[in-house]
Amino acid sequence: MSDIAASPPAAGEGRKTSLLRETDRVRKRNAAERRFELYGMAAVGIGLLALAFLLLSILGNGLSSFRQTFVDVPVALDPVAIEEAEASVVKTSRYRDIIEGAFVSALEARGLLEGIDPEEAAGIISEEAPAQFRDYVRANPEAVGRPGEFTFLVNGRIDGFFKGRVTFESAELDGNVTPAQLRLAERLAGAGLIDTRFNWAFFTAPDASGQRPEAAGLGVAILGSAYMMLVVLFLALPIGVAASIYLEEFAPRNRFTDIIEVNISNLAAVPSIVFGILGLAIFINFAGLPQSAPIVGGLVLTLMTLPTIIIATRSALKAVPPSIRDAALGVGASKLQSVFHHVLPLAAPGILTGTILGLAQALGETAPLLLIGMVAFVGEYPDAPPEGLFDPATALPVQVYNWTQKADPAFVERASGAIIVLLAFLVVMNAIAILLRRRFERRW
């Protein structure tokens, strides 16, 4: 021991260094490390900034679509007028007359009609109101003959006025609204007849035509997206899992399965619009399925999601240690039993995570749906599945696309609102996927 302690000073004389001072090499290495850390932080920062900007602009534009402006109008449900309206050819225009008459006389009674002509005043009520009113009358025939208090949508421009989108200056230049109408709306709001409240209809109502942005809702789009997700789930999950189990557990390793494997990865990288073209050619032109139907959209998205699910499932299966399979085979389980009793349950969280991520991807997919006609205007709800799968519907991302194409800024607001809804769905799905992964993470 003693001679070892004695020797180092002699041997290490020339390069004796203090641990308290960095050497040149260490200093360089540390500098490189700090630089790299900075690059990384800058990269993350840019990403976060972009995300924040996106969220801010979408929330800023879209949150207002969750609220809507309504006007209260007392309407006497005069049986004669209603009978006349029902008997006429253009029923809604007669109903419109009833509403407008009631509205104008209500304004007169309250002395709010000064400085505006009655026709103009009535213009602040939405074009949608007569249909709303008629639906109510039809649904409640017993109400006819009694006076009633109704709440109608106001015109999109007036709604925009209360949300700050429309001003007196812009109204001067606008053919669809006059400053006098805005002033009336202000007076009505002061009188408590106009107010802005939560807009359930945004989530439940079908889309509306270009003149009635205030009535447009996501009901049909949400239903259509849900139907397509159902189709994807019921087709892609079993097919994908079966294919993965076969490839991973049963298929021999040879040139043929190699080709299949490479092509599944290729398929995952194929642009989605190509799947749309495929869907158009096969499901609509060849198989004769209806256009705009969730079944076709679902089938196309199934094709698109399959590779994702297969890849996720295969890696989940691969992650199950082979010793588990050996153990099962060792006690005399068949291959199928070893897969279904042991391997699959262990791989299930991974498979579910992959499936949810695949579904989320499919939910946000737009391009293939444009090709198969899901971009059409659909004003009616599809039936309940399974028949409803063949009824025309739209989908959330396509609805966004649709609304951003319109000129009226009220639709831009709604498009942002739809994006928020879509993002909310995606966030929920991804959160579920992460939770599943955390919850069932296993160590062997």
């Binding site: 010793s323 050996d326 153990a327 099962a328 085979l329 060792g330 389980a333 262990l346 296993r442």
Partner: protein
Amino acid sequence: MNDMRITERAVDLSETKISARNVQVFYGDTHAIKDVSVDIADKTVTAFIGPSGCGKSTFLRCINRMNDTIDTARVTGDILIDGEDIYDRRVDPVQLRAKVGMVFQKPNPFPKSIYDNVAYGPRIHGLARNKVELDEIVERSLRRGAIWDEVKDRLDAPGTGLSGGQQQRLCIARAVATEPEILLMDEPCSALDPIATAQVEELIDELRRNYSVVIVTHSMQQAARVSQKTAFFHLGHLVEYGETGQIFTTPRDPRTESYITGRIG
């Protein structure tokens, strides 16, 4: 040396259970087992010894056809169990494996409860008609695995939560639960401490009464302690096979001698 003679007598009485003739195993181009012929007796513990990579595990896995699961593996020659060729086309390897149990080198309990680990084999083979019978099988197997006392209060706990040695004994219990006739053990004690090893060795000696046990081991002492017959493998060849006492005291082949004296390995 005294008890060695007792076991020798036992060997003479028992008949051949497994008979291998000219077995060759290839992994792709690797020739892992070269022309091995061996007769393994019933109600006997046979030890396979030899340096790492000599093919002990490979040969062991031939006996319950676990090599079938390796794509590249190819087996030629005949292996007979009770006179029946297990590589015959009519033989279902699944049925074979119920008859030839296996304990692996690394403990591999299912990530399920201790009870389910043991009950799984009997369940899929329909060995129990009801819950009571199944409970009995589980208890009997766990007792045979010398682990009953440690786990009887927590049969619902996951098998993967046990210590390595307990896991290995659980795996032994799982293997005996299906009532196999032959038990193959690939280095069952490599993960165990001396106490657990002693328990497992005791268990192996116990199992000999009902089964033909084949055990791969790297421990010469273990081979000497538990086996009646020993086979020495080297580079894929079966170099020498005979009474354990004879192999360890008067090996006929110089390679055997150098291995057991520690010169190759």
